[in-house]
Symmetry: C2
Subunit: 199 residues, 2 copies
């Protein structure tokens, strides 16, 4: 008696779901069963959304974020301050900064961060494109808003050296105690930074 094989369409669906980040074979199976058994409309929608995203989304030629237009809405807005360029890792980070309503300049989205262990170096992130964007003659200050993780800090450090060597003013988001927090619950590393950068 041979070991049971799933029907081919189910196997292929599980294999395709397994390629999503953080999804192993058990999770992929659970997702496949769920969609086929309880949410066929969801499966139709996901397939259609994938097709639409693949055919309609491109990278904005200026900020590198996802966009349906050659130049995205923010980059083409006359209301934005074109002397400021904020560098973020992902479109989600860009959303976060926009929702703070504290920034009116333009963006550059790296679509990743330096991660040598994953083989992501300056070439993979196409730093030349950022460089030519920052050196367009209008940008006066580049604000580095990569994450405050080891990889984000490394990326900020590398970019800071690169951009300053071209004579640009480079700044980094301030580190310190988060708004609304009680000191008792803030981690020691943050307190140490907040003390060092007190003003």
């Amino acid at each position: 008696m041979s070991s049971l094989q799933d029907p081919e369409p189910l196997q292929k669906l599980v294999d395709a779901l397994k390629r999503l980040p953080g999804v192993g074979v058990r999770t992929a199976r659970r997702m496949a069963y769920h969609m086929l058994q309880h949410d066929r409309q969801g499966a139709f929608d996901l397939s259609a959304a994938l097709d639409a995203a693949l055919s309609n989304l491109r990278h904005c030629a200026l900020c590198n974020s996802f966009s349906v237009l050659e130049i995205c809405e923010i980059c083409s807005s006359p209301k934005r301050d074109s002397t400021l360029l904020c560098v973020v890792e992902t479109p989600a980070d860009q959303n976060t900064i926009e929702s703070s309503h504290g920034y009116s300049g333009l963006y550059y989205v790296l679509m990743g961060r330096l991660a040598p262990l994953e083989g992501i170096g300056p070439n993979q992130l196409q730093f030349e494109q950022l460089l030519s964007r920052a050196l367009n003659g209008t940008v006066k200050e580049v604000i580095l808003a990569t994450n405050f993780t080891a990889e984000g800090e490394t990326t900020a450090h590398y970019l800071s050296d690169l951009l300053e060597s071209k004579g640009l003013k480079v700044t980094r988001l301030a580190r310190g105690v988060p708004a609304g927090s009680e000191l008792e619950y803030v981690d020691a590393g943050t307190i140490a930074w907040a003390l060092m950068e007190r003003r």
Copy 2:
């Protein structure tokens, strides 16, 4: 200045991914970025696999598992012992039992388990179909192989009462110490069961 909106195709993709079990908005975003940025082929494959699974997979008319045929390979095999019917929760559980090479009977796949808190009762699991399958005159013994979780046990208990009331012989997979395990590392509940069911 209004808060930034993701481009529509990206929003729709994130919404569709969010409907997968265990996927929240952050995970959905990470999946979408990953596919669009690093694995477009994977996105194409996933879309195609979803379409193929939706159009080609059905439930086997006898065992209720996923199948491309009206009657699946196992149910139509003349080598299987048609007097034994093993009830499992999912096709994955069926695979596990098949890979033990210890069973040559037929299956019935519930595609779920009783979970009153999620609104899954006997009607949602279509127990009538199982009942008519088990009462076809050939089946002599029904082996309940639902999971040994609270919900799986509840399901086994309910099915045991239902099937025995129709005069069928009903058995349950044995509980005990897993093969190859050292007693020191086996949980107390399992030891208690193994003592009670010693032979």
